[in-house]
């Protein structure tokens, strides 16, 4: 113990921590170029030049979509934890705890209510960083809550989907989120309110095979992987390499499954316009 370790070191440490390269630089998965993190953040997490759309967290997405980044966080229903008492190398409850600590979210879907280009909308966002955006009871209830909130407040519902598929650790409770969310979509339809899905990278499995493919309008971000079976499963089944561009947003548009592929910088404008058109709201000022 001397005066150096007491006084100087903490300062040095904090400077060093800030300067670690992974915080400062982002490597583009497409082109491999290194880009200054601040530049990427200012560019809505799209790599300038390659236009690769990086994944964004649920909170970042809500902030970048609502007017001035302001929204009401809709409280989500609590669900029974670990209904199967699932454990392998690790307890499922421990995996959940880790994911919660890592993302500081309760589960993979968040719901916000606010204004989008001055019109009220309800938005659900699925966060791939929370256990691969997997669809379990909490995520299913959150999507349902989003649809119900939209119906109650008479707003369109926009769902940003991102998921690797079912939350395997919840077994059949996970699978049941497919008919459950579908039933909630039917109620929004009955209320004649628009349901817009934005497919983001990646959206596969049970999520694609339920609420992500039941939108009135399907929008996708460029390059997003979208499919029922993941590429690994298909390759294992047919034992050949998949063609380039397979299951990407542009491929789905070419095959009639997606209406629009929209760059992130144009997303707010496109969603705002679609909502106004479908709800007969006046044109933007």
């Amino acid at each position: 113990m001397n005066w150096i370790s007491n006084v100087v070191r903490p300062k040095i440490r904090s400077i060093l921590k800030k300067d670690t390269p992974e915080n400062l630089w982002v490597k583009c998965p497409d082109s491999g170029q290194l880009v200054f993190h601040k530049d990427v953040e200012q560019n809505l997490f799209v790599i300038p030049g390659s236009e690769h759309h990086l994944r964004v967290s649920a909170v970042q997405r809500l902030k970048m979509t609502f007017d001035d980044g302001v929204y009401e966080d809709i409280p989500l229903p609590e669900v029974p934890l670990d209904p199967l008492k699932f454990r392998d190398e690790k307890r499922y409850t421990d995996r959940l705890k880790d994911a919660r600590a890592k993302t500081s979210a309760v589960d993979s879907v968040k719901v916000g209510y606010g204004l989008l280009e001055a019109n009220p909308v309800t938005i659900g966002v699925q966060d791939f960083d929370f256990m691969g955006g997997s669809l379990g009871m909490a995520a299913g209830e959150a999507v349902i809550k989003g649809l119900e909130t939209a119906a109650e407040r008479e707003t369109p519902f926009i769902m940003f989907a991102a998921s690797g598929g079912a939350r395997m650790q919840e077994g059949m409770f996970s699978l049941m989120q497919m008919p459950r969310t579908t039933a909630a979509i039917q109620r929004l339809r009955a209320a004649r309110l628009p349901y817009i899905v934005v497919l983001t990278n990646p959206t596969t499995g049970g999520v694609t095979a339920s609420y992500a493919m039941l939108g009135d309008i399907h929008v996708a971000e460029p390059g997003a992987l979208i499919g029922f079976a993941g590429p690994r499963v298909i390759e294992q089944t047919i034992r050949e390499k998949l063609p380039p561009g397979f299951q990407r947003a542009e491929y789905l548009k070419d095959h009639g499954m997606v209406d629009l592929v929209v760059h992130r910088r144009d997303m707010r404008g496109t969603l705002g316009r679609l909502c106004r058109l479908l709800t007969k709201a006046p044109a933007a000022a």
């Binding site: 077994g171 409770f173 039933a183 979509i185 039917q186 095979a209 339920s210 029922f228 079976a229 298909i234």
Partner: protein
Amino acid sequence: MRSYLDFEKPVAEIEAKVDELRAIAEANGSDSVRDEAARLQNRANASLRELYASLTPWQKTMVARHPMRPHYRDYLDRLVEDFTPLAGDRLFGEDEAIVGGFGRFRGQSVCVIGQEKGFDTESRLKHNFGMAMPEGYRKAVRLMDLADRFGLPVLSFVDTAGAYPGIDAEERGQAEAIARSTDRCLSLGVPNVALVIGEGGSGGAVAIASCNKVLMMEHAIYTVASPEASASILWRDPGRAQDAATNMKITAQDLLKFGIIDGIVPEPVGGAHRDPEAAIRAAGDAIAASLSDLAPLSPEALRDRRAAKFLGIGRKA
């Protein structure tokens, strides 16, 4: 010719002896040998009853996939008269993994949809092992549309490892086809009843099983992904299918307890393949009982109750 599963070996040995004794009795007409054979058969039955009373989830998976287990086609033959299969989705093609049409169930006109896995190499290829393409689900939607319009109940027989994962299936929108089929099940203004007869695999099953009543045969399984796929997803090792089956609560008994299914159809001792006739008769009785429960309900009530039932899953627990 019987076919035994690994865990049935003790029974197989006794029954082999029974057959031997019966042959001897046949040859020399000895009553004492005949009695001995009968006694041994009783022992085999008792041991079978004991085995089947406590099958592990993995053993159930084996039973659900047993080569002699009655398939959708057997249920159709025995339960549905005047069955008239209808082909095609009117959009792209015909997919024989899903066989559907109209017929008469205990006198009543019904729409029937189901997955057929096939029973020999030729028919397995024809039915693509019960793994449907988007066309299959779109045909199902088409048939449900007709059933709704003509006021006919829909019966679904579920037996699939899952929807087909392939380039062509993806190209033609497998996910959308499944989602729309689930959607149509839930919007029907006529009663629908699903029976999982073997394997209920994932979204490919849900697509035709989102019904007012969901029943399972006693030894059927219903899974979020087949045990092999689950193991591959969880541990990148399909070889751990047995672990996945054990962990994931896939048996009819567990799922009834969870409130995910509505009823279990008892199977004959030793599984449906030991006495298909009896198994299918019991299935018919259970379907008939479900249909008569649902018969008085209006289209609105059928839709509301169906939605409420699914939305309620997991909420009470």
